[in-house]
């Protein structure tokens, strides 16, 4: 490892990565456990000639984001679970309007106001579309602070490429953890956004809207969107396989759960148990193809671990499609599993061996 990497909290590293990716507009509203991010942006944006604005509510923030994105600039908003719920109306509008932006959800315990501890119970909301209409959005789920930096930069590129919002999905633990990070050089492209509202002087006017009263036209517009979503599904699924080569049991987990599960997998391996870890990096598109392959190669059991009552496990089952047994272990309400707990589950499923 390179010594003297910068120590940063996840929330702050996310902010710095966004600025390096060219983000110059941030609209937010404070909510624990992501408040270090707007605080960081409030300090840094003026230094780079950007704009930080604390809105009067999450609804205001997401609609400010819509406005900024319509002008073609790189812009972002962030929140935690209850605040993210409020932002979904705006996300639906932005997807309908084909506007690129990055939205962050540093998840906490729910439902309702819940608490401020780490959670992963917004998977359905983010992946299945909590807003209205036929929409999809790429959702990136980093497991450590360096990956959070790398995926933040990727998020802006993917948003611009597809003209679609991209979700960055973390939890309170990732946001609060401080680790060494390095910031890769970022190539910011000044691609001409030939759709952006930049003032119609000496050019034909452009219109950005999600409103289309004619159903035939709206169906055609939906076909365009669906073609984009299909392209994302085709190209953007990302995952990591760890010690899966000869595994009999594979743990499936993302984000913080995956990081903890990895320690459990190492401990199981030390006991001679053939266990691997399958870590989705994109939650949508869900990276099912590797799971399907592992099931076909002879993995007999999958253990899905989440800080939820079992949401991603539905997608795991769809990918495995009955070829292997899929079990679930989850902690709820802001509780974080320990490596020992997950190891206990692994041992139990493998017949109490070792």
């Amino acid at each position: 490892m390179e010594p003297m990497m910068t120590m940063m909290k996840g929330n702050e590293a996310l902010g710095e990565a966004a600025i390096r990716a060219g983000c110059r507009f941030f609209f937010g509203y404070p909510i624990t456990p992501q408040s270090e991010l707007p605080a960081y942006m409030a300090r840094r944006m003026p230094e780079v000639g950007g704009t930080f604005l604390q809105a009067e509510s999450e609804l205001a923030a997401v609609n400010m984001l819509l406005g900024a994105a319509a002008t073609g600039v790189r812009a972002m908003t962030s929140s935690s679970s209850p605040g993210y719920s409020l932002k979904q109306e705006g996300i639906s509008y932005m997807i309908g309007s084909q506007l690129p932006c990055v939205v962050v959800n540093i998840m906490r315990g729910g439902p309702g106001l819940g608490n401020i501890q780490p959670s992963q119970s917004d998977y359905f909301q983010i992946v299945k579309g909590g807003g209205h209409g036929d929409y999809r959005m790429i959702a990136l789920a980093p497991a450590a602070v360096q990956e959070l930096v790398d995926l933040t930069i990727l998020a802006f590129d993917l948003a611009d490429f597809y003209r679609n919002p991209v979700a960055l999905v973390g939890d309170g633990l990732l946001g609060q953890t401080m680790e060494p990070v390095s910031f890769p050089p970022v190539k910011t492209t000044d691609d001409d956004k030939d759709w952006a509202l930049t003032g119609a002087h000496n050019r034909p006017k452009r219109v950005i809207t999600s409103l289309e009263l004619n159903p035939e036209n709206l169906e055609a517009h939906n076909r365009v969107l669906q073609a984009k979503f299909a392209a994302m599904e085709e190209r953007e699924a990302r995952w990591e396989e760890y010690r899966c080569e000869d595994a009999e049991l594979v743990v499936v987990a993302y984000g913080t759960s995956a990081r903890i599960a990895r320690a459990a997998v190492d401990a199981a391996r030390n006991m001679g148990l053939r266990v691997g870890l399958y870590r989705p990096i994109t939650l949508w598109p869900f990276p099912g193809e590797g799971l399907t392959r592992l099931a076909e190669q002879g993995v007999r059991r999958f253990l899905d671990v989440e800080m939820s009552s079992g949401q991603m496990v539905e997608d795991v089952k769809l990918a495995v499609l009955g070829r292997a047994r899929v079990d679930f272990y989850g902690r709820l309400g802001g509780m974080v599993p320990t490596p020992r707990e997950i190891l206990g589950q692994i041992q139990e499923l493998m017949g109490g061996e070792a």
Binding site: P3, L173, Q176, T177, M178, E179, R262
Partner: protein
């Protein structure tokens, strides 16, 4: 291969989070793999605070420490909560100035140190965290003292650089106390 899983706990305001950050920054300075994470909640002044620090020669698997190999407890509630969690063979530094009971475990190395009293003798109560940290480092030298002093201005602010000498003294007092009580 080694992994130090450190948990530091006490009252809010005792410098629990700062002591943990100093450890993590020092480990990073030395090129070790590190992480730091605070227990966060609806906290209040005088409430309990703790943080997890991992220092390893491997990439950090789990930043949240549930079974510490090394633990500092600066007050009685922290002693009661975390003594049972220390891994067998681990080290527990106890601030005897503020802990009314003594650890019962016999399968861990207990380092009793009157950190608060020693800090007051040194000149200010706020150095208790550094005295305790010194006591821990005497038993588990996971980072060098000099590394901690080097990162101190970065963690606490450049205007605190003038306090490096007294922090050096606090670490030294803690180390000497640990060596004295353990006779090492």
């Amino acid at each position: 291969m080694y992994t130090h899983e450190v948990l530091i706990a006490g009252f809010g305001g005792q410098g629990v989070l700062t002591a943990g950050q100093l450890l993590a920054y020092a480990g990073n300075l030395e090129g070790q793999h590190v992480s730091w994470v605070p227990a966060y909640g609806p906290e209040q002044r005088g409430g309990t605070a703790n943080c997890s620090v991992v220092i390893s020669d491997q990439p950090v698997a789990c930043p949240l420490v549930s079974e510490p190999t090394a633990c500092i407890v600066l007050n009685q509630p922290s002693l009661e909560k975390f003594e049972p969690m220390v891994q067998p063979g681990g080290t527990l530094v106890v601030n005897t100035s503020l802990c009314t009971t003594r650890p019962k475990r016999t399968d861990i190395t207990v380092v009793p140190a009157p950190a608060t009293d020693l800090a007051v003798e040194l000149g200010a109560i706020r150095f208790a965290n550094m005295v305790a940290l010194g006591a821990l480092l005497a038993v588990v030298p996971m980072v060098k003292t000099e590394s901690i002093l080097e990162v101190l201005p970065k963690v606490m602010g450049e205007d605190k650089a003038q306090y490096v000498p007294i922090n050096r003294e606090a670490l030294k007092i803690g180390m000497e106390e640990a060596r004295r009580v353990l006779m090492v």
